[in-house]
């Protein structure tokens, strides 16, 4: 736990000293929120604001996890992590947590921006189930970040993978608009991701159906975390066998 906290602080420090990432993290939720609010004629619902915030959070998680591992490999510090006696799980969990910390900022920034720029803070009526669903979504993002990090250790194509994944995932997970608007097979694909279960709950009031979606999301989050941990324990060996820790 101590190492995970150290990695969390390290990553936040590194991100805070990267002007590009800092500006991206700052502006992305504002841009997404503006688009969402304008598409709703300036009357954004809580659901729309949270959806826009989650879009920013997903981008941050994806780029954060990719950049964290890409930069570790690029700067040669990935070997420091792998060559240490501790498992990779704790530092990677810390890195993932750092990017989700920015994701939480994304949610809050989206809400503040909607109040300041569009004079709307959401309808407020069923804010509680929406906020809980958003928090469950954030937990899912941590799990996805851990799983992606394991993949990124093994492959040198982290940034390419990131670019491919960004938009399709939040579309098929119904982050901004309900996935029921999509072709049904995409909905099934979305349900393979924790976010694909937690986002439908954003549209539901407290109740059994709402709880069912969030329960499924939490189960999938646990599965992702477990697979991510197993993968991270194995990638250590795999990367040593393949010799993929350095950039060529």
């Amino acid at each position: 736990m101590r190492l995970a906290i150290a990695a969390w602080l390290l990553q936040l420090r590194l991100l805070s000293r990267s002007p590009f990432f800092g500006w991206m993290a700052l502006l992305t939720p504002l841009v997404y929120c503006s688009i969402a609010a304008m598409m709703s004629d300036g009357h954004a619902s809580t659901r729309t604001i949270v959806g826009a915030g989650l879009m920013g959070a997903w981008s941050t998680t994806l780029f954060g996890a990719a950049e964290a591992l890409f930069m570790q490999r690029y700067s040669g510090t990935l070997e420091l992590l792998v060559g240490a006696p501790r498992s990779l799980v704790a530092p990677v969990f810390g890195f993932s947590l750092a990017t989700v910390t920015l994701g939480v900022y994304s949610l809050v920034a989206a809400w503040i921006w909607s109040v300041l720029a569009f004079r709307t803070g959401g309808d407020g009526g069923d804010a509680l189930p929406t906020v809980i669903a958003a928090l469950v979504s954030m937990a899912g993002l941590v799990a996805v970040g851990v799983l992606l990090a394991g993949v990124y250790v093994v492959t040198r194509k982290a940034m390419e993978l990131t670019n491919v994944l960004e938009y399709p995932i939040w579309l098929i997970c119904g982050v901004l608009f309900p996935s029921s608007m999509l072709w049904p097979p995409f909905v099934v694909l979305g349900r393979l991701i924790p976010l694909g279960w937690s986002t439908p709950a954003l549209d539901l009031p407290l109740g059994a159906e709402w709880g069912g979606y969030l329960g499924a999301s939490l189960v999938l989050t646990a599965v992702y975390l477990a697979v991510g941990v197993v993968l991270l324990r194995r990638v250590d060996t795999l990367a040593r066998v393949r010799g993929t820790l350095r950039l060529r």
Partner: protein, 318 residues
């Protein structure tokens, strides 16, 4: 302390190409408390050897042990006993200070919190970076980065240190400071495996060394013994001020000349002539065959480790 037995490492090549064999049955045994040098041309397998011992690569065949522990099956225990400093600009968090880099490394190695502050100050002092502890690493010179690499490798007080080309790219003053640091490590009881391209550095620092080429050991002994083992009795150097082509051929035809190569500088082409031990061929013979060309500085010297190294590689190539 460090044993490599018949270690082979191959890397998969890109589609259609044959796999690359970086190590080919490498066998070494390094004693506790030694400074051991690993010499060889680019691509000889020096860094691959260090990376296997540092548990960052697995051997394809053979076994490697540090302090009796297998680098594949006991990797975590090996990692607690070793410190690794890969030289160069990479491998540090440039946006953080030296102290922050060391603090994170200390946490990776599970140093107790109460010991961390003192230990970081101690290793910064050992490498002479105390005054720059809170500067961002991106502002460091290459020499300072090299020293920070070593400080980080020392943070958990390991018994064994792997230094991969630590003085590469350093200016002479920084390189000397680094060599003094390595000698200081021996006084502290560390076992050091050092890879280097600089022969005088290996000569000055190492108790023993191995010359490797194409992933195999071609010489293994003390620096003096390696120098004596090759068939080089003396080295004659002659500056040729005219065209050196004919001179090269004429000198090569002299009896007992092991090798001749040309070192170019601004003023002349210097012929470096290696003559076999016990040979009667000397400067007089060389100047005789070069009577038709204009010569400058002429001298004879004892072979250095570099002469022995080049002779070994030439013998291996032939």
């Amino acid at each position: 302390m460090i044993e490599l037995s018949e270690v082979t490492r191959t890397f998969a090549a890109r589609r259609g190409a044959a796999p690359v064999r970086a190590l080919d049955g490498l066998t070494l045994d390094i004693e506790r408390g030694e400074i051991f040098g690993l010499l060889g041309p680019n691509g000889a397998g020096k860094t691959t050897t260090v990376r296997i011992l540092a548990t960052l690569l697995t051997p394809t065949e053979g076994t490697a042990r540090v302090d009796g522990l297998d680098v594949v099956t006991d990797a975590a225990d090996v990692r607690r006993r070793i410190g690794v400093a890969f030289g160069g600009e990479r491998g540090l968090y440039d946006r953080l200070s030296a102290r922050d880099n060391l603090r994170f490394a200390a946490q990776l190695y599970d140093l107790p919190r109460r010991e961390m502050k003192g230990r970081i100050a101690e290793v910064l002092d050992v490498v002479g970076l105390g005054a720059a502890a809170d500067q961002r690493v991106e502002a460091f010179s290459r020499g300072m980065k090299q020293r920070l690499h070593i400080a980080r490798a020392l943070i958990h007080d390991p018994d064994v240190l792997f230094l991969d080309e630590p003085s590469s790219g350093l200016d002479p003053v920084a390189a000397r400071a680094l060599r003094e640091l390595v000698l200081d490590l021996r006084l502290r009881g560390k076992t050091v495996l050092l890879t280097t391209h600089y022969m005088f550095e290996a000569d000055q620092l190492c108790d023993r060394l191995a010359v490797i080429a194409a992933g195999r050991v071609i010489a293994l002994d003390t620096p003096d013994a390696v120098k004596e083992s090759v068939r080089v009795g003396s080295v004659l150097e002659v500056d040729v001020l005219d065209d050196h082509t004919g001179a090269l051929e004429a000198v090569s035809d002299l009896p007992d000349v092991v090798s001749v190569h040309v070192e170019q500088n601004d003023a002349a082409n210097r012929l470096v002539i290696r003559v076999a031990a016990g040979s009667g061929t000397g400067l007089t013979d060389v100047l005789h065959v070069l009577s038709a060309v204009q010569t400058g500085t002429v001298f004879e010297r004892r072979p250095t480790l570099e002469d022995a190294y080049i002779a070994l590689l030439e013998a291996k190539a032939s």
